[in-house]
């Protein structure tokens, strides 16, 4: 019995030892596992742990301001008092909003949106209830805050355009970022971040937006911030000065507003500075910085005169007679005709079986280049255009900026069109006719150009043939941007002088088409060229009946164009104008350009001392 017991006891001890051994093995294994996790893989898990606990919060930078060339603000950041509601701190969200309604109006739709946003977010994340409340409203809420649990007021920034519609097409506007506009820049993911949508705001958005600051903070598993670890300050956007003269811009926009639909460009022929670029009708860009109402939006986009478009760069029209300088230079430079070449104008020209009318039915008689420009005789240009050919006319036009985008730093620029034989065949599938060349010679037919291109053309004519390009950005943070040195077009100075003499005669000659629009002050005398573009073909019946163009309905009337420069003695300022359906260049466009050039010369924005006048 005892023997057996000890046998059993020995068996127990033996087997217990095996179990103990297994235990020792397991303990070793667990310690090894800890060693693997805590020593070998330490770095991996350390990183993961930091990823868990550290959250980056972005601090929005203040958007750079935009001023005109003299420092007049065009786009600023106004105080924007915003009311926030933190659901977690409010006893009852509905009650709180109800109490809040005593101080600020909250529509039912807004209230619904607030409730939807509250549901989507974590309860400690504040929800914006209302923005851009007045100082008075803010003060009242501030006083009542102890009774408004969960409500807080915070000051943000709201973009404001103090000159409103006068600079709408230049500044453009900012609006809430769309899905497609989100980039790697962390700023684009900021809630409520507004991005430049059009105009300078868009072209220079990267410079204006600045850099976001970062606050690294420790968060818990539910995303609540526990403490701040470190922060980088945000870098505000840079201040842009444009080449625009704000007061001239206001004047220009107001003058354009006298026409139903018109656009104008005023620029410097020597350095390319755009002093004013106007388009009427315009709109108030401040509508877009807040939420634009659907009615307002519908009104803007359904307006027949397209107020959102900057017609000075996006509107394409046949240049009409303003193109005649190019035809003349093409003929002269290629030696097709000499400066004394004359043509007899009986009121029409015949090429083969086709008859092309001069605008003056009675004809101009014998005309040379200068007098043909002065009176805008079509027959003279029909003749030299036919002799020169479309190829050479097109080449000359391109040198003066036609047929392609100029490349101004504004959105929506159109390229215009300088037709070639190949273009017509490719596009319309028809052969180029002699008649096509003839009408191109007077800037009609397929040729299309923008008001900006006409201003560039005129600048290159009067600056001695330098391929100047327009610029709109003058300086960044007060440091002037470099003016590009442009190449010379290599046009014979004598030929240029001839053309300029013609443009002078338009304004001062006895038969000049725009002589009535010449400025009174001799010092300010200007040169120019009118242009009248058919919108609808004049029928034989109309011609016979002598129906005047201004009697037709607005949409059928001719477009009126004008390009001009001043002062005659020392040409510098250039102005180009389009008055849609303005009947005639001399009747509506020339007086408009005259007013603009007069104001430009009075203000003389090119003079560095003229800023004193402004202030």
């Amino acid at each position: 019995m005892i023997e057996k017991k000890t046998e059993k006891s020995k068996e127990f001890s033996r087997r217990a030892f095996i179990i103990a051994g297994i235990h020792a093995g397991i303990f070793t294994g667990l310690a090894a596992r800890l060693g693997y996790l805590q020593i070998i893989q330490k770095d991996k898990y350390k990183t993961l742990s930091d990823k868990n606990r550290i959250s980056m919060r972005l601090i929005p930078p203040v958007r750079g301001e935009i001023t005109d060339r003299f420092g007049v603000p065009l786009a600023v950041n106004n105080q924007n008092f915003r009311v926030f509601l933190t659901p977690e701190q409010a006893d009852d969200v509905k009650d709180t909003i109800k109490s809040l309604k005593r101080y600020i109006p909250i529509s039912e739709i807004e209230e619904e949106e607030i409730h939807i946003r509250i549901k989507k977010q974590r309860s400690f994340t504040p929800v914006m209830v209302k923005e851009d409340i007045s100082w008075d409203q803010m003060a009242k809420i501030e006083v009542a805050l102890p009774y408004l649990a969960g409500i807080s007021i915070n000051e943000g920034k709201l973009r404001n355009y103090p000159l409103r519609s006068s600079t709408a097409h230049i500044t453009g506007y900012v609006g809430l970022i769309s899905e497609a506009e989100i980039t790697k820049d962390p700023i684009t993911s900021l809630p409520g971040f507004r991005i430049g949508k059009t105009g300078v705001e868009k072209s220079f958005d990267n410079i204006l937006r600045g850099n976001t600051g970062r606050i690294q903070s420790e968060i818990n598993a539910s995303g609540r911030e526990i403490r701040e670890l470190k922060s980088n300050d945000s870098q505000n956007g840079r201040r842009l000065s444009l080449t625009i003269d704000a007061e001239l811009q206001i004047f220009c926009q107001n003058r354009l507003a006298q026409e139903r639909s018109a656009a104008a460009v005023i620029m410097d022929a020597h350095n390319g500075d755009i002093y004013s670029i106007g388009s009427n009708p315009s709109f108030d860009p401040n509508l877009f910085t807040k939420k634009i109402s659907n009615e307002q939006w519908q009104e803007l986009i359904s307006h027949p005169d397209k107020p959102l478009n900057n017609k000075a760069i996006s509107g394409q029209y046949s240049p009409g007679s303003t193109f005649k300088m190019i035809t003349a230079l093409a003929a002269l430079e290629n030696g097709i005709v000499d400066r004394n070449y004359t043509v007899h104008c009986p009121g029409y020209s015949e090429f083969g079986r086709d008859r092309f009318y001069c605008w003056k039915q009675s004809g101009h008689g014998w005309v040379n280049l200068v007098s043909a420009l002065e009176q805008s005789c079509d027959c003279f240009f029909y003749d030299i255009a036919r002799k020169t050919g479309i190829k050479k006319i097109g080449d000359m036009a391109k040198r003066f900026g036609f047929g392609d985008k100029i490349g101004i730093d504004l959105q929506g620029e159109a390229s215009g069109l300088m037709p070639t034989k190949a273009w017509k065949m490719g596009k319309l599938g028809r052969k180029w006719q002699i008649g096509d060349t003839v009408v191109a010679g007077i800037g009609q037919g397929y040729i299309q150009s923008t008001t900006l291109q006409l201003a560039v053309m005129t600048s290159r004519l009067i600056n001695g043939g330098v391929a100047i390009n327009p610029r709109i950005l003058k300086s960044i943070d007060g440091i002037d941007t470099k003016i590009k040195r442009e190449h010379v077009l290599n046009i014979d100075k004598k030929n240029l002088e001839m053309v300029i003499r013609g443009m002078e005669a338009v304004m001062t000659g006895k038969k000049g088409t725009a002589r009535k629009a010449q400025l009174e002050d001799k010092e300010m005398h200007m040169g120019g060229k009118t242009g009248t573009v058919q919108v609808k073909r004049i029928t034989k019946a109309q011609r016979a009946a002598g129906i005047k163009n201004e009697d037709l309905d607005w949409k059928s009337r001719h477009h009126a164009l004008f390009v001009g420069f001043a002062p005659l003695k020392k040409p510098r300022y250039v102005c180009s104008v389009i008055v849609e359906h303005g009947v005639s260049g001399s009747g509506s466009a020339a007086p408009l350009a005259r007013d603009l050039l007069q104001e430009t010369q009075i203000r003389n924005p090119a003079d560095p001392n003229s800023s004193i006048v402004t202030k």
Binding site: S13, I19, I26, Y45, K46, S49, N52
Partner: protein, 376 residues
């Protein structure tokens, strides 16, 4: 007191002074670690866990002493009754749980929620120790003879499995296996048992609840679902790993204090500790557990009667299983099965069950010279 106590009866003071105080010291040390861990889990507050743990642990210690003072023969006598009562409680929670529309594993007994499955872990060891007390070695070598002790284990296992509580079921089976092993059951039977267990894996898989299946799948590839069911284990590994060699410092664990670590005060308390104390702390804690376990095994081998040997050894193995399963679980070695770290995790039942077990071990130790008359 009781008529069947023989002349070998000891006085209460004799019993008290024959307690193994060294062993008691190590047990208290583990409890103290638990207090520190729960204090940290509440971001350095006594509320809501640390203070309760302290009270419960002290109450448990008193219970341990009472159990230790009770004559080993009484435990022997009531072994089957305790087992039967535990089984009855398991049936009760099963019925109550069904009424309560869910896996209810506990009974509210006023001051705490009692989990009968925790008591069962001790009761099975008691019953088996009693069963094998006088079994001749020849009988043990007979395969059919093992049907009865196997039934003792299978009944509660089945009951906890349908709760469902996979962790407890596995623990009961493993403790039973170890007891079978040390009483001398032939080795080949274990081979057959393990073989048939592997063979029946597909059937078991089929019987598992969806959440259990998911735990197993998540265990196999926790990165597959880092925000869903893989979250626990991923965050636990991050906490452990980021603790490094020396830890982030007491109360400095970011994973646990920022709530990334779920169930940090219960099943994942080991992770919380190691995030703050690092590898050094972890190995120290493992050594502390190892001391308690190996010392317990030495006590078992040195017992003079078979009942005490088996009881002490079974209870120690049971304690060891808690530790192994919990640590393996939080370090990502096995699927999450919901086994707490004894005397450290917040929660009453497991700690009381473990302290009850240590009470019985102490009782064996105190009464090691008393002979058990199997006729009792």
């Amino acid at each position: 007191m009781l008529s069947y106590f023989s002349k070998e009866d000891m006085s209460l003071s004799e019993k008290f002074f024959s307690l193994n105080f060294v062993y008691l010291f190590f047990i208290i040390l583990i409890g103290a670690v638990g207090f520190l861990a729960l204090y940290s889990a509440a971001n350095g507050n006594l509320d809501p866990w640390a203070l309760k743990h302290l009270i419960r642990f002290n109450l448990g210690l008193c219970g341990l002493l009472v159990v230790a003072m009770i004559d080993i023969r009484l435990w022997f006598k009531f072994a089957y009754i305790i087992y039967a009562l535990s089984l009855a409680l398991l049936v009760v929670v099963e019925i109550k749980g069904q009424i309560g529309m869910g896996a209810q594993r506990w009974i509210n007994i006023g001051f705490m929620n009692l989990q009968p499955s925790e008591i069962m872990k001790v009761a099975v060891v008691l019953a088996l120790a009693r069963f094998f007390h006088l079994t001749p070695i020849e009988d043990i070598k007979k395969t059919l003879f093992l049907v009865r002790p196997a039934t003792i284990a299978v009944l509660p296992t089945a009951l906890v499995l349908i709760q469902p509580d996979l962790g407890t079921a596995l623990m009961i089976l493993m403790v039973t296996a170890v007891i079978f092993f040390v009483v001398g059951v032939r080795y080949w039977i274990f081979g057959v048992a393990i073989g048939s267990a592997i063979a029946s894996l597909p059937i078991i898989w089929h019987l598992l609840h969806d959440y259990q299946k998911k735990r197993v799948l998540t265990f196999l590839n926790p990165e597959s679902d880092p925000l869903g069911s893989g979250y626990h284990i991923m965050q636990s590994k991050i906490a452990l790993g980021s603790g490094g060699v020396s830890g982030k410092g007491f109360l400095q664990g970011t994973q646990s204090h920022l709530n990334f670590l779920p169930e940090k005060q219960t099943d994942f308390i080991f992770t919380l500790l190691l995030e703050e104390w690092g590898f050094i702390g972890g190995v120290s804690l493992i050594i502390l557990f190892a001391i308690v376990i190996f010392y317990g095994m030495i006590i078992a081998v040195n017992m003079n009667n078979r009942f005490s040997k088996l009881l002490v050894f079974g209870l120690i193995v049971n304690f060891g299983l808690y530790v192994f399963i919990n640590i393996a679980m939080v370090t990502g070695l096995i699927p999450v099965v919901g086994v707490p770290l004894p005397m450290i995790s917040n929660g009453g039942s497991a700690m009381l069950s473990v302290l009850f077990g240590f009470g019985l071990i102490m009782s064996c130790f105190v009464h090691k010279n008393i002979r058990i008359n199997s006729k009792l």
